[in-house]
Symmetry: C2
Subunit: 469 residues, 2 copies
């Protein structure tokens, strides 16, 4: 990180914590240059950056001031009310119509599921591709298909080890992104008609997969900060023949909620008690803003009950379609299902990522990525506080690139979605995140793209639309 | 092709057609040099090649002679007897144990499903990968994921056009190899419990897919040369509620049989009459030995009933995992199923193949590949005639890289499989190709690898084992 970026972050933190209040004048360039021991031009650069992020504004001949927010920072959403015990899933049509709308490259991509591809080291990865293909014998290409590329699997196992999870390499199956891992994991432990405990709200692909496999959803409410409601889960597991759970324990999509370690342990104890496997979707773990990655529930898994799914699509290589699953006691079944459906993810994509992980500077890239996402989160939060109506609530996750907004009751997010799209702004309306199509007054916004004047204008427009309800 | 290779082919043809009989002396180097207008060293090279292929042998001080076959060329297998009307499928275990045995790279790979990777332009493809990644913007990588790479789809549509099939690009869905295309195609038109007409013998993955989706097989016998028995199919379609057909109309795996155009038309008329969709597995079409590629049934499809599946895995880029489906009236459903399971095949793999198809010389490569496969077929046929016991029958397909052997009744191919594996030779035993595990005295051998002394020795060993039954 550059010196001026560090300074900007320091001042942003003062604003975020209220030490510098809205409307307050921030130190002059000379003052700041002296107090922080940097050159005046570094201070200027930092202030421009903060202005860009919408945190401060210049007033003619008076210097820089903390921007007035429309009010205080927005409060946190509330825990969703209880949901019916089991639900037939039928949300696919709605999801596809929303996803279809994202294709236009000229929309402001608040509805997107991916961070900006500009945040990824695509050129460095391409070099890794070239050099790994040079070293790949034709016979390796055939061998890697059934077994997975050995270098890649070793690198994945190493990352588990660093995050404190000991995992035999034999438990890994390389997949076409996390979505295939999740699909195979769920298929390996369920049959049509079975009950599956899922989160509410949840990642819409989870609903689509349940629908496709004719499984029934048992929706468990998720607290916007603390994660899944363990009391409800305990009750449901006691009273219903649940065959599998599908949860995100860290930076849950769409809420960004994480279970703390003690709650992870409680959840694992429940799984053990009922001998129910968990499909753990953990694709955002590497996007933590804190110092350390969160521990996956897989880290507690002494019995092979957890099917842990990860991916490089959101941290390194979108479009390469390489993910993996650590399948616990279901590994062989998962590997076979994969051989019967897609055989293998692309071998060159595997070798390119393996080479990058060894030589490309993955950790350095991740640090930059996390930092960018966190800054963009600040910018979106500040902008929402300025533009969105009173009564709006919002999450503030410690990782990932989604914010979940709970708007005043009268807002219809599907209608908002259509209004916004007509103005070139996409968003993900609440109902696509639940089997029962609840969360009608909620929406998920993506802050994975560089914040700029377009984003600010889009937030202002959304604010106006929200007030029109 | 080099001059000496052309000469070798000319002489091989004389041997194949019996113009040069077994035991007969072939022209001396001087004679041949004069008659064919080539240098003596070219003749020498040609004769060495023919010796390598096992077609001729040198006798000290007497010159070269056509090798004595153990007898005449082996006759063609017989049409399989009638099979029970419907069958529950449960062959997966057996298939996996056979496939697992192929992992050892030191076995003679007669059991493999792929041709030798040495036959593919892997280095040229890698150059296409490098150059296509250089031109790929990060935003394309995200866009290509849902829609498929536009250049690749255009190239695929062009190849259809050249082979006489007009296909709107919108009907194409790019997939993770043909296996995903087949899986998605079948899922798009069936539900658990449905009846599906398949070939007998058939590609074992077809059996695994039916088993996984809990579909029931209606096995239709396949004639070793003419393809599927249309009379049986007509009867079954009239009497059973068949929901879909899954057939290979050209170079069927494992028999190599092809329907001629008039039989293709008859089959299509049946589909139309009963409004039953066909999943057409056409992955070997480009490996035709004749001048022109065979027409797919898709070429007759005026109603969008045919789901046509292709792939680059067997013709250009094994391990890249890029295939496609032309989905007819089921295209949207297939595209959505794909988005719900794997999202997309690897984008770099798609762009690399697109670049190769535009600039790499695909047709030149295909001509060489076809020629190599045909020569290797000749070598395996000649070797089988030398070493396999009387009563053995064998197919002689006009394309692909499989031969189907029907051994004397007392041969147990599963036992042969185990005996051979212990000697470092793999093969694909007959029972893995049928839901009812018939074809116990049959086996599929792969001639997709360069023929050499190891192959010859392996055939001799197999012959000895066959005689031991």
């Amino acid at each position: 990180m550059k010196r001026y970026e560090r300074l900007a972050d320091t001042i942003a933190e003062l604003i975020r914590t209220g030490i510098l209040a809205p409307g307050e004048r921030i130190p002059s360039v000379r003052q700041a240059s002296q107090s922080y021991g940097v050159s005046p031009s570094t201070v200027f650069q930092a202030y421009y950056l903060l202005e860009d992020r919408g945190l401060i504004q210049a007033r003619a001949r008076s210097g820089y001031f903390v921007r007035s927010l429309a009010g205080l920072p927005l409060p946190e959403p509330q825990l969703t009310p209880a949901v019916p015990p089991t639900t037939e899933v039928g949300v696919s049509e709605l999801v596809f119509s929303v996803l279809g709308s994202l294709k236009n490259p000229h929309t402001v991509p608040f509805g997107s599921a991916f961070p900006s591809p500009d945040l990824f080291p695509m050129a460095r990865l391409a070099r890794s591709m070239t050099s790994s293909l040079r070293n790949l014998s034709p016979h390796d290409i055939i061998a890697d298909m059934t077994a997975g590329n050995a270098d890649l699997m070793r690198q994945i196992a190493l990352r588990y080890m660093v995050s404190g999870v000991r995992l035999p390499i034999e438990e890994l199956v390389v997949t076409n992104g996390a979505l295939e891992a999740l699909n195979l994991g769920l298929q390996s432990v369920t049959q049509a008609g079975d009950l599956v405990a899922i989160e509410s709200p949840t990642f819409y692909a989870c609903l689509q997969v349940l629908e496709r496999l004719q499984l029934k959803a048992v929706e468990i409410p998720v607290h916007p900060r603390d994660g899944i409601d363990l009391a409800v889960l305990r009750e449901r597991m006691g009273s219903l023949p649940i065959k599998a759970c599908w949860f995100m324990s860290s930076f849950q999509n769409p809420l960004g909620a994480s279970l703390d370690n003690s709650r992870k342990q409680q959840l694992y104890n429940l799984l053990q008690e009922h001998q129910v496997p968990l499909i753990e979707d953990d694709v955002y773990a590497e996007l933590h803003y804190g110092e350390r990655p969160p521990m996956p529930i897989k880290g507690l898994d002494s019995e092979g009950l957890v099917i842990h799914c990860g991916s490089f699509s959101k941290t390194l290589a979108p479009g390469y379609r390489v993910g993996w699953v650590a399948g616990g006691r279901f590994t062989e079944r998962i590997a076979r299902l994969k051989l019967m459906t897609t055989i293998s993810p692309s071998v060159p994509a595997q070798t390119a990522i393996a080479d990058y992980l060894q030589h490309g500077g993955y950790d350095r890239h991740l640090r930059k990525l996390r930092h960018a996402l966190q800054r963009q989160q600040e910018a979106m939060l500040a902008s929402a506080a300025r533009h969105f109506p009173k009564g709006t609530r919002v999450t503030q996750p410690d990782g990932g690139y989604f914010l979940w907004f709970e708007f005043p009751e009268q807002v219809d997010s599907l209608q908002l979605f259509r209004l916004a799209l007509a103005q070139g702004i996409s968003l993900a309306p609440g109902p696509i995140f639940s089997a029962s199509q609840s969360f009608r007054h909620c929406a998920r916004l993506n802050h994975g793209h560089a914040w700029g004047p377009d984003s600010e204008r889009a937030m202002e427009l959304l604010g106006r639309m929200l007030r029109s309800f």
